[in-house]
Symmetry: C2
Subunit: 580 residues, 2 copies
């Protein structure tokens, strides 16, 4: 049986182009079973869009147009794609919305399956909008019996009372299926592919038939979809599509040699346990630190970030980019990743904004980096604006300032200049904060925390270094070595070092990962060997900086727990419970 | 039967004070049935806190302490309060969390009921965290049969498959209950009280017994709880607690004359229909505009906002406040509301930051307002900083700027100075944007849109005027009349008027309410009589300014659809579906 996987890449609600894609595939008239991702017709995640009348009215119009394509389809082709199915009340207000699979053939458009498990943890809000289905689906196409699932349906966990895989097994008596297809819009996180493959192997073994997994590609604000659609049969992964790229996978199921390894052990997956995962591990020297990233991990993350900012820019209509370069590690990494992913016709520039505390080294390193990358570096000194502001306060309030006030003003003046430049050339400002900074609030609100989107907001500082080293290894020392080796500093006061007020990053990041896994109390971390004073300091910083994270820009999500839409913590609360 | 309602006001997770309150009540040993709000023991909404180990470990410790209070309770007293009930897996990770009612008496602490309906629309995420119950509860206390419900349980709607009120009726055969008590943490919105009372009257009539409603008080970031606990019996509301204030309501149920009006009509409530409500109404002149606020509405909203910023300040540890005053309506209203709600020991100041485009009138009006309010006004001219920045760009880029870039720089310099002042005196900056501005993006990101919390972000501009007039009527023209009557302007270029780029506010606000109700397309609004060009303009502005709302501060929520946590719309999307 010939099957074509459409690992597509569309913008949410881009109905015209979504229709055009489908229409073109049908025009090609390749006789096959064509399979598309979950919610192909609308995009995902839609959130409130799906309850806005302008949205669902236009969507219903699309559905009608799609239905008419039926007459153009040969009797040997079938199209399976995801979409929404609405029921309305008498006032044309949605009463129920279902996440379904449509089957389009020369017999018409037919709704064949409704997603049973609606994920509602972390970034997922599906139970807010959708009504679950309650029936297994076995399609008969060209004499083949095909089990159909949508994304979360393949996972079993204590989040959900039922298990659609088990239900499908009961429904089919395990023997009768020729293959199972899971149509997904499954968000990326590091390690997710391995998890998907394992679960697919389990299900394939359980049913003794191939398991086909199709996933979409693209970035929707902070959420990345990696594609990596695949066909597995028992233990064997026969074919896998690229990550983060649109691709059409064309194959004949009969060509594959089936190789089973029966293994009926079914593990719980997507549980709280899973979501609470921590990446702290005991090292050989008996200290605990983050599991380091492999080269493959680094390559994958860089690909994810590249798609992330490019998609956001395209969907928001930007082709110019302005980055504030400090001579430090974070901005150098952001600039390098962006430069490597830059497309024809796009313009990328760096702005260096020295204050009286900026060292000449920072400027030299910025120049070297921009030379290596071949991008323009502009200098906008803030010294005079800084002293003018100080004078203004001295005059107006007879109350000059220093300390933190004086540090923050420098950062905010930079934010102001950066956005003035952004206005001037209609460029997108990409934020340069990392996850460690965000977690302890080591940044100035409306200062260095500004930006349209954050590339490193889900990447700890020690991982920032790891990525820089990986890039240098792959690209011949693109990033000047001294940027990586110099001690990190915000340069907001004389001789400032990050370590003046923070533990060294290796320790900080491990403690933070512990906190953000939600699995550790102060006592637990101290028991692992972290110093009590350091643990307490990190918890204290974390708990009183929620307000900074609240107003932060979207963060490209690459881990299972990112500060972004899925991280929901009240700002105002008594936070004494975090104490030892 | 003597009953005491504890309409309490605590901070989320403030376990020590929550325990102290309970302990003190028990010490007073007033023999009665003591009733507390939903999740009294933890606070609400908790979001991710309830899955963080430091939280649930300390909460379990609290539960143990509460249990021990049992020995101090007389045989004639019973305490009913809300709390959480956890089940853990072998790794001590929550497997299931239930929102329950505890009964504390001299017999011990007992979990008596689990909330059946978990709201999951708009700001509510309960299905993300909690497992629903599936049993009705009738408690026998002092020979009385008491039906128990938690908050959402009293509402029936198409959101939920079941109806706990109906189930309770079946369970009790409608006749046997002496009264029903609903323990709530029900967020405020304008008009919510009326809705609650109506539903209570329905249920009371259905069961032919009194219906007791207890609600908490307080502001949790953007979400306000108004209290207004009450006792109703059929049609009659016997007693109602204050709004937005902690109160103990002490009453004997036998004292009330029961007055029924049997009415078994049960309306659906809390439906999409309900949430999609629009406040546009046809006026006598046949145009459509917002239903105007009554004096009572104004009083209620001002009380809500006052509690909102005061609670946020208290919980975040601020007693100083800095407001940027422009001489316009919004900042004048914010300042006035805050002044009227100011407490002893708090410090409130206004900062006026004129640019070259600021008119002398703006300064004069700012002076008059601050004199009326008796608060200090500081002036910090941005003219020199503005010209310095322009020169800097001219020098560094040989590319001077004007137009929007030149407008935004003024606003951002003000944001920078405002936060410098905030740093200097450790004051909280309260945002002064209104809902109309937010909806069309008529503000500068990191400029006038800065702030720790927004007072007017859920209030349309025409309602801002309404509140100002109400305050002037109640407080003898506190706000200089010309602030209200002068044409609104951002004063960022010569002779600028809001109406240069926006429809007049009465029209704008009606169109916006239409858009935000999610019920109207462009065509629908044009059909109501709005001008096509204006409708299109407003939709265009709305759809391309999502990114500004994303990074905005928490907004005190006073309507059923606020731009805040419950408003979930992707930034990057194809927005052509909004077009006509």
């Amino acid at each position: 049986m010939k099957i074509i996987f459409h690992q597509t890449h569309h913008t949410i609600a881009d109905f015209d182009n979504i229709f055009k894609y489908l229409q073109e595939q049908i025009k090609k008239s390749e006789d096959a079973l064509h399979v598309f991702p979950e919610l192909f017709l609308t995009g995902y995640p839609l959130q409130d869009l799906c309850i806005q009348k302008p949205f669902f009215e236009k969507y219903e119009a699309l559905l009608k147009k799609v239905e008419k394509l039926s007459s153009k389809i040969s009797s040997d082709s079938t199209y399976l794609f995801g979409g929404l199915s609405y029921e309305y009340n008498k006032n044309k207000i949605p009463q129920s919305i279902k996440n379904v699979v449509f089957k389009l053939s020369n017999k018409g458009l037919e709704k064949v399956y409704t997603k049973q498990l609606l994920p509602n943890y972390d970034i997922f809000d599906e139970q807010k909008y959708f009504t679950p289905g309650n029936e297994s689906c076995v399609l008969k196409i060209n004499d083949k019996n095909i089990g159909v699932l949508i994304c979360e349906d393949m996972w079993s966990s204590s989040f959900h009372k039922k298990d659609p895989v088990q239900l499908l097994a009961e429904h089919t008596n395990k023997q009768q299926l020729d293959f199972i297809v899971n149509m997904s819009a499954s968000p990326y996180s590091l390690g997710k592919n391995t998890k998907r493959l394992q679960r697919a192997q389990e299900i394939s073994s359980l049913f003794q038939c191939p398991f086909l997994y199709i996933n979409k590609v693209g970035a929707e604000d902070e959420i990345l979809f990696d594609g990596k659609s695949f066909i597995c049969d028992g233990e064997k992964i026969h074919k896998q599509a690229k990550s983060f790229e649109q691709e059409t996978l064309n194959f004949n199921l009969d060509d594959f040699q089936y190789s089973f390894k029966i293994n009926e052990t079914k593990n719980e997956s997507n549980t709280w346990e899973d979501l609470f995962q921590s990446r702290i591990q005991k090292q050989k020297d008996k200290t605990h630190s983050l599991i380091p990233w492999s080269d493959d991990d680094c390559a994958e993350v860089i690909k994810a970030l590249s798609l992330g900012f490019q998609d956001y820019a395209k969907k928001c209509g930007f082709s110019n980019f302005t980055i504030a370069l400090s001579g430090g590690m974070d901005s150098a990494l952001v600039l390098s990743i962006m430069r490597l992913a830059l497309k024809e016709g796009q313009y990328l520039e760096a702005i260096y904004m020295p204050s009286i505390h900026s060292s000449p080294l920072s400027y030299d390193l910025s120049i070297s980096l921009c030379e290596n990358l071949g991008i323009p570096l502009k200098s906008l000194p803030i010294k005079f604006l800084h002293s003018t502001t100080k004078n203004l306060f001295g005059q107006s309030f007879s109350q000059p300032f220093d300390g933190l006030t004086d540090e923050n003003i420098q950062s905010r003046l930079r934010g102001t200049l950066l956005y003035t430049r952004s206005n001037q050339i209609n460029s997108m400002v990409v934020n340069t904060s990392n996850k460690s900074e965000l977690a302890v609030g080591y940044s100035t609100q409306y200062g260095d925390s500004v930006g349209a989107i954050s590339l490193l907001g889900d990447i700890f500082k020690s991982e920032v270094y790891r990525l820089a080293e990986y890039i240098n290894q792959k690209h011949n020392g693109l990033i000047p070595k001294e940027i990586i080796t110099r001690p990190p500093t915000a340069e907001l006061r004389p001789d400032q070092r990050d370590t003046d007020s923070l533990p060294e990053y290796k320790v900080l990041d491990a403690i933070l990962d512990g906190i953000l896994s939600y699995r550790y109390t102060q006592k637990d971390l101290i028991k692992l060997g972290f110093e009590e004073a350091e643990v307490q300091k990190v918890f204290d910083l974390y708990k009183r900086t929620e307000y900074k994270r609240y107003q932060f820009c979207p963060i490209l999500k690459i881990s299972s727990k990112s500060f972004g839409f899925g991280y929901r913590v009240p700002i105002s609360k008594s936070s004494t419970f975090y104490n030892k």
